[in-house]
Amino acid sequence: MSDSTSTPTSRKLHAMRLGLRRGLMEFVQSIRSTQDQWFYLFTAVCTLGYLWLRRDVDTGVPGLEFASIALPSILGALVAFGVVIGPAYALAMEREDGTLLRHRAIPDGLVGYFSGQMLFQSLSLVPQLFVILVPSFLLFDDVMAHPGGWFTVLWVLVLGLLAALPIGMVIGALVPGVQKVGMWGMLPIMVLAGISGIFYPVQQLWGWVQVVAQAFPMYWMGLGMRSAFLPDAAAAREISESWRTLETVLVLGGWAVVGAVVTPIVLRRMARKQTGSQVQAAREATLQWVK
């Protein structure tokens, strides 16, 4: 084990590996926990229930079922929602309960902590998508128009993850406490979901709302998913009657680049403020709150 010749870079890589192991362990523990299993089941039942109830709605494109259009949009929104709200809650919570401080107290611990957090949040999408996709294929016909779409699903997922995960991390780092995640995280995401063409085409909204929706990753993740699942004829329902693949890559890529630059700065600043007395104060505040 003796390795006194290690360089700062090799130590950071070592910490990153430990962090990834941590993320994997958190993921395994999560899918084994009944609490998280219920959560996945709940989102699946809600989504499938919605699709089933509205299965006869006219889509405007002959031969295209409502579920086929709504499912990819909802998937895009769920991914965006999951990787924003997930890390926002996790970070706000682990700031309060001392998990983050513990990592601050060990060498290279923060590198490991954040690597683990990112892997864990990304992996959490797997069961989320699984519980919705598998029953959808059994319940509805022609969900995936052409098998090549799976490749599109993959890159939209990866790019969407890189674009949205930093947003969640930054929200989690900036909110004053766990109870404020609803206000600063949930609420904006809900509003975005409402205007991002998930439940009805975005063109039905006012022009400026369309502009706002297209500034954020959620709309583009929904669009990217629709381009993956639907036949090309369905592009007629979209803005400029196109899947706008290039624009999708540019917008999501832009968010990813900004996120990669801004997030480490925000996280470093936040971690520097972590102290034992802060954790103690949060603990006392919670006790008060429960009373």
Partner: protein
Amino acid sequence: MVKVRDLRMRYGENDVLTGVDFDIHPGEVLCLLGPNGAGKTTTIEVLEGFRIRSAGEVTVLGEDPATAGEAWRARTGVVLQSWRDHPRWTPRRLLTQLGGYYAPYSTPEQERPWDIAELLDIVGLNEMADRKIGTLSGGQRRRLDVAMGIIGRPELLFLDEPTAGFDPQARRDFHHLVHRLADLESTTVLLTTHDLDEAEKLADRVVILAGGRIVADDSAEGLALRVSGEAEVKWTRGGERFVHATADATRFVRELFAQYGEDVHDLEVRRASLEDAYLSLVQQHESGSAETAAVAFAEVTK
């Protein structure tokens, strides 16, 4: 090992530390004692590198904790009060994971991290090693906190109010553990407490903090000797009560008897103890007159 000179801390308009000086020598167990709100936690957080001081000089293990890097971090250990973190992990898994970070900092002289099985044994968590942390009792969690603090075999260990909320047995076990670390592993320990009894049991040296400054710095025995300079003699004679303060109570009483013999009744000799002095310090501190309390205590232990 640790050198603190004129450490000052100010939050807005509020001066928490107004010039603190002390040293910690290698292998020493130093106890920072003081009433709640005296600035103990602030001091230890500055030394841990978690809080940036307003002014003064601080050197810990040869470096300024405000700018020290990860290699410095690997040589220190911090025992944090856990609360509800990592409930789904088991002690063994968590210690293995956290201990891993120290491996690159292992040297032939100081092998890092601690062997997990040995560590679990030392803190007495063998039987709970594979249970979920969420199911541990308060005392067991605190022992896990200690294990996490020392997993990297630190040269200097920080403990902030380590036994708060302990039952008497857990407290004794904990004291035993600190002695073991100090004696066998020659770990230098800085701990804070507001409990004089704990300071006397654990510390090689006690530094008393009140009103944002240090009012006494000595071994527990030394402090006790300083305070007990004066004793109070009370007696009655012919129905009247007398009180006299003296440095040499034995001689005074001998003379008293020589002079009045059988007329002396209800004799009472009371040596001012460290406990009395400390209790009155705490009382005054908590009633809001921190400055007066500090001055009065410094006077008694001069």
